[in-house]
Structure formats: C-alpha cells, structure tokens
Symmetry: C2
Subunit: 181 residues, 2 copies
C-alpha cells in the first residue's frame, strides 16, 4: 500500500483498494510515509511553477536517456533533439502529462479517486502501447529534472518518495496492459 495510516487500513477493509491501487496479483510498491507525501507536495510545487518549460525538459531528458522513446511519437521520429524541443506537439504533450501528474498529486489523500485517475490514464496509454516500461523510463528523467530544480540538493527522501509514486503509476499501467491482453 502507498500510505501507511489507520485511515488507509479502513479503506482497505471497506473496498479492497489501498491508496488508489486495486489489490491485484502483481507485486506492490511499499508504503509512502507522511514525510514522503510532504516531500512530493513540496518538490512538486517547484516543478509546477514552471510547468511549460519543465514538461518540455522532462521529455527532452527522456529522449536523451532513451533515444528509442522518441519514436513513440510519430511526429518526432528521426528529428534532431533541438527540433523536437521546439515542436508545438511536444509542448502540448508535455503540458498534458504535467496536468495529469497534478491531478494525481492533488488527490494523494483520496485513494479511490487517485486509483480511478491513474487507471484511466493508464488505459488511454495502454491502448497506444505505452505502459509500465515507459513509466519506468520516465523516472530517471524526472529525478534528474528535480535535482536541477533543487540545485543539486535532492535528498534520499525526495528520491524514495517520487520513486514510490512512479512505482504505483507503473503498477497500474501493468495491470491495465494485462487487461488488454
């Protein structure tokens, strides 16, 4: 489960979900502590304050770490990275991802809504062949962006918090990919 709390246990008993992730057969990310939740909220504000540029940088880092990921976007296939950076479709996609992440982070305290939001996003992406693997590819790009925004002062707490959150998103992505099979 993602959040370790008494409230969380009650939610688990009531409807079999925990912190937004339905109880499945796949392995589960470990719980996010209250400190980790705070760390996510605090550091997210930095990213969100310049969402347009940070969203673009996130994708540029993804394409730099994993050049093959550029091919997921038919408009960017084969383009030099500097042309991709200026592409208006990158700006739109990057902003969409930022608004989706914001919707998740705004609902970290509402397990059922969080589950439904992450799952809906995962379904849309699974239909396009984007899933667990791609979420995992995005994490190092995100952590690098965060470290730059924090002027190289990312702590272990920041890293564990965001790694767990991406772990939840990846887990739901895998579940929704399996549903399509």
């Amino acid at each position: 489960m993602l959040i370790s709390s008494e409230k969380q246990k009650a939610v688990m008993t009531e409807n079999g979900t925990h912190n937004g992730v339905s109880n499945g057969t796949t392995s589960e990310p470990s719980a996010l502590s209250e400190q980790e939740l705070e760390a996510i909220n605090e550091t997210w504000t930095l990213i969100w304050n310049d969402k347009k540029n940070n969203g673009i940088e996130l994708f540029i880092k993804l394409f730099t770490h994993f050049p093959e990921s550029q091919n997921f976007f038919k408009d960017f296939k084969g383009l030099p990275i500097e042309e991709v950076r200026e592409h208006k479709k990158l700006r739109a996609h990057a902003l969409s991802v930022m608004y989706a992440l914001k919707s998740f982070i705004d609902n970290l305290d509402d397990e059922e809504t969080l589950d439904a939001l992450v799952r809906k996003n995962a379904q849309n992406h699974a239909e396009r062949g984007v899933g667990e693997r791609e979420v995992k590819m995005l994490l190092p790009a995100f952590l690098e962006l965060l470290n730059e925004q924090l002027q190289e002062k990312t702590t272990d707490l920041h890293k564990s918090a965001w790694t767990k959150l991406f772990g939840v998103i990846a887990l739901v992505a895998r579940e929704e990919q399996n549903h399509l099979k």
Copy 2:
C-alpha cells in the same frame, strides 16, 4: 479569431493561426474580447475551487439534458442517474475534463500552446467517436452549472465568453474529426 488584439494580428500574420485555432475552411467563432477573457478567468475560479463536485455535476447535467450521452460511457449504460453520480469512473472522467479545461484556460494567452492542447484533446476524443456534437451538448450543462455557482447571477458577458470558448473547442473537434475521415 478568439482574441481581438494587435498581438493577435501579429500572431495571425506570422503563422496563420489565431488564438489557438488553425485557419481552416470551417466557420469560425467570433473574437473573445478582453472583458470576455476576464469573465472566463473569474468565473472559472469558482468552478475550479470545487472541481471534484462541479465536474460530477457537469456530467450529471449533461446526462439529464441528453440522456443518450450516458451511453458514450459503457460503464454507465442503463444505470440510474443516482448510481452514475456515485460511480468512481465518473469522478475520474469528470476530474480529467476539469484538468483539461484548466490547461486550456491557463493558456488563453499563448495561442500556439492553446491550439496544440485543444487539438490533442480533440484527437483523443475523435478516435473514440466524441467530437463537435458532444462539445455542443456540454455547453448548456456548463452554463447551468455556472449559473448555480453564481447564484443565478450569470450575465450576458459570462454567457457569450463561455459560449465562444466552447465554440473554439467544438471547431477544433470538427477539424480533427474530419482529419480522421
């Protein structure tokens, strides 16, 4: 064009788009004035402040005005409206729409980004058979919700502003539906 300003004319000359909408062959919504832009920003804050409930109410109103629209969602088909209201997939869909609208409204001053965001959203929906007609069905539900939030004090300015914004979204939806044909 959506915004009538000197800046806007410059944007039109430079890249053939105006206020986010590519110059197409379809009829175009008339310009949004500065007053209308302010009216959108002010009234949107009211809606956004309770986005979860307002998003749900928006869809309940849509399904009430146009019962056939409930069938766009396979999970809701045939369900009594009170069961739809409590459905966690409605909450997720409603919130997704609210975050998408927010991304548009946050970018009313950036024509190119607005165009790319509205178009990306329209493409995703067109692939699912949701387009111009459905955007137009959503407008009366939105205006009714707004009127309730404003305690029956919606002005002609509010109505014209939101009607024009929905007109732009509907126009782009039509263009993207035509691209799929």
